[in-house]
Symmetry: C3
Subunit: 340 residues, 3 copies
């Protein structure tokens, strides 16, 4: 499947990466990441060029990662620097691919395309509350679904009353919606006035009724920033109970996605029990409500392309539709550049 390669993707959370090498398939490519002795993160091809063994199963000593099969050692720049076989000569053309990585706000970002055009300034600010070190809840799910179907799901929150009634979605709400289309962004904004506080908000908002503001912003290729505010009726969004979250979707393959999510809030910030309750809420929604529906849609698509199926376009698909088209154009442009 064609992916947008010249882009930053979430490879792992910072706290997942240590001296034990971690193997993950990203955009169909096996990648190994580990923490160097200087604390920085290295990302290499997870395929030994000799017999294609998975390097993440090997030993890491100082900066050298050794193949678990025949012991070839690679440094964090991808150079083969140790050959315990035969006379020990380093064979020519034995280096492996490395990937640029940047660690920021608790996320290890990886650039899957042409290193020469890797642009660190384009890494998305997660805009979580409480600063980079603030308490927050995060999680990881490997979902057997095309990442674009998950973007569709997130950008069209009209599904909430059907999949998450009462829990994430207020009962009987009327949605005032507004959509934005940017150059490489899209956003959906919803306001539900004077609604019963949904169960997810009752965790930190005590009034039984209020105004419920939800925004979801997509930034190409697959980062989504979410903002939820619950306020007293008619009050300004700013003074409300805020939740800011991110959804970082990294394609593993055409039909599977690494789904990283994180959330922060401005009420009862230090409450660890609340963290746990909120995590349960989110995972229940992803695993038992959104996940099965997205996978059922994918089954009905039977391997065919979304656009070939000529899907019905609703007014409420402005953001999701714009994200689809934008992503498709970016991938086509990248592919064209490579061929010229």
């Amino acid at each position: 499947m064609p992916y947008l390669r010249n882009a930053w993707y979430c490879c792992a959370y910072s706290n997942e990466v240590d001296r034990k090498p971690l193997g993950r398939i990203l955009l169909d490519q096996p990648v190994v990441v580990f923490r160097k002795t200087d604390g920085g993160v290295a990302a290499l091809s997870d395929v030994c060029p000799h017999r294609f063994a998975p390097l993440h199963q090997g030993k890491l000593e100082n900066e050298i990662l050794s193949c678990p099969y025949h012991g070839l050692g690679f440094d964090s720049a991808g150079a083969c620097v140790h050959n315990p076989n035969g006379d020990g000569r380093i064979p020519p053309r034995s280096s492996i691919r490395t990937y640029p990585v940047v660690e920021r706000q608790g996320v290890v970002w990886i650039w899957m395309g042409d290193c020469d055009v890797a642009d660190w300034s384009s890494i998305v600010d997660l805009e979580l509350l409480g600063g980079d070190d603030g308490p927050r809840v995060s999680g990881y799910i490997r979902m057997d679904a095309d990442y674009r179907l998950i973007i569709d799901n997130l950008l069209d929150l009209n599904h909430a009353p059907y999949l998450h009634p009462g829990t994430l979605s207020p009962e009987g709400a009327t949605r005032e919606a507004r959509f934005e289309r940017g150059v490489q962004t899209a956003a959906s904004h919803y306001l539900m006035r004077s609604v019963p506080t949904p169960a997810s908000q009752r965790l930190w908002f005590e009034d039984p009724v209020g105004d419920y503001h939800v925004s979801m912003e997509w930034i190409a290729p697959s980062v989504l920033r979410q903002s939820i505010a619950m306020t007293g009726e008619g009050n300004a969004r700013e003074g409300g109970a805020m939740m800011k979250g991110v959804h970082l979707l990294t394609p593993e393959s055409a039909t599977s996605t690494h789904y990283f999510w994180a959330a922060s809030r401005n009420r009862r910030v230090e409450d660890k029990d609340l963290d746990q309750k909120f995590r349960t809420f989110v995972e229940q929604a992803f695993l038992n409500e959104d996940g099965p529906m997205i996978k059922a849609c994918q089954r009905n698509m039977a391997g065919r392309e979304f656009s070939d199926l000529k899907p019905l376009f609703l007014d409420t698909d402005v953001a999701a539709g714009h994200a689809r088209v934008t992503l498709e154009k970016m991938i086509a442009a990248e592919s064209e550049r490579q061929n010229t």
Copy 2:
């Protein structure tokens, strides 16, 4: 895989269809069926045209089936009549495919092809005993096998002494066989004289020895009517203990089949215990004797077409061979009509 589409297939038993929508894949197409408020049966595409969600997971209220993902509502004629998203306008070209259905003799028949040529008179009379409401035993098995291999199995009952010795097949029997080839039918008739009553017949025929008559008739594309009579030696078939059954095979995919079966009899008709014993007999035969053999044959075919494998033709394959050839010609003719 090419199927004969202009034909009636068993979609479900009447007693499977109620107000809870039932999703089933028929001829590679997802279909949802449910009972309307007037008692009739509706069959629609089980794929929402918006995001391809399975409609059978949605809510049915009065005549409106709502998509479980974003709530689009479809009436039983396939028209989108409700859009809870945005301004509620019904989008153009939003209707979904419906399938003609006819309910007859406890079976919901569905027409999978061109509606304009759906011919209700061509629905097969099941010819079960006891009329349409008479007591009978029925069952459903989803079998991981090409439906044509199941037709082969049913039309060539010479397999019975090998797969069903003593149970469905009398021990040591000599088979007198006669075959019929019709325009869109084929039949096998067997007579075994003065044989020990097989276990399946001992359920209602008390003599230890008798004449055993078995007929199996195929009607294109995949309905089979079976008739079994056990009589005193030399007696006429008509006065015997009769069992009339049907095998309704609806392809799910190239390698899986919805196998519906039903049976009726003229002895101990009201005996519910006997119903249960007979059901056990049949299911044991299908699941443990025929099923594994058919699947083993399919494995050995390794995805290749039956005719490409140049199978050996035996005298006893007249009916099965005729069914194969007839079906192939009908599918080719239908495909030709569509292309002109």
Copy 3:
């Protein structure tokens, strides 16, 4: 996948073959083997030509194997000699393929190609210790891996310190290696001087330190003979504790292999407990150490051909590389002969 067909492969151990027919897929072809009344072994296609049923599920009476589905009987020369269906006439062109088999040294060898060129003199002498009937340990594993990856593994024992540290490989050893390239053979020879006796050798060699000699010889297409000697430091190989083994790899499919292995020794030859301990050693190595690594490499190859991936060639790959190239040339030559 193209295989070398004009070659002898291990089909089964002699002690696996008796009057109960054994079905095995070899080089993508279903084969049934059984022992004839005269004690010889017959190998036939395991596919009935009528409906493709697996013959190994049928009954064997005297020399006749009957199809489990409709009872066609085949003799051990592949001729259809019994038809219980209809008038009993034997249909023309009803014989099935037979495969030349030779039983030698406890192995049933099968020729998968053109019978006319089957050359019995080319069957490999296993060269096990103790003669053909000597005590030895043997085993069978079905491994989900391309047989060529297993050959690579066996011909490059530099993997031993990584996958089998301390057990099969002496700790801290320096390997003196020598490789041989023959017309249809390749071999790797290793000598490790003054090394701690590895656990596998401690089973029968009592000195804590010694010289460790290991040889592995490949004979096309997929027989490997192994020889291990542990001697006192500086002593000649001949007087040492010897283990001679074989690895007989028969492809089942492009991604699965029948892996037969056997071993013999010159110390504590009659010790059955030792047999069992040694078997545990070998199976632990294959199943838990080599197997998972080979399968991981295969996953990383993602269905692509080895040579297309341009693997790094190390000095120590001389034997494995020669085997790869030799096998490829033999297969190409065989395919060319068939096309002319």
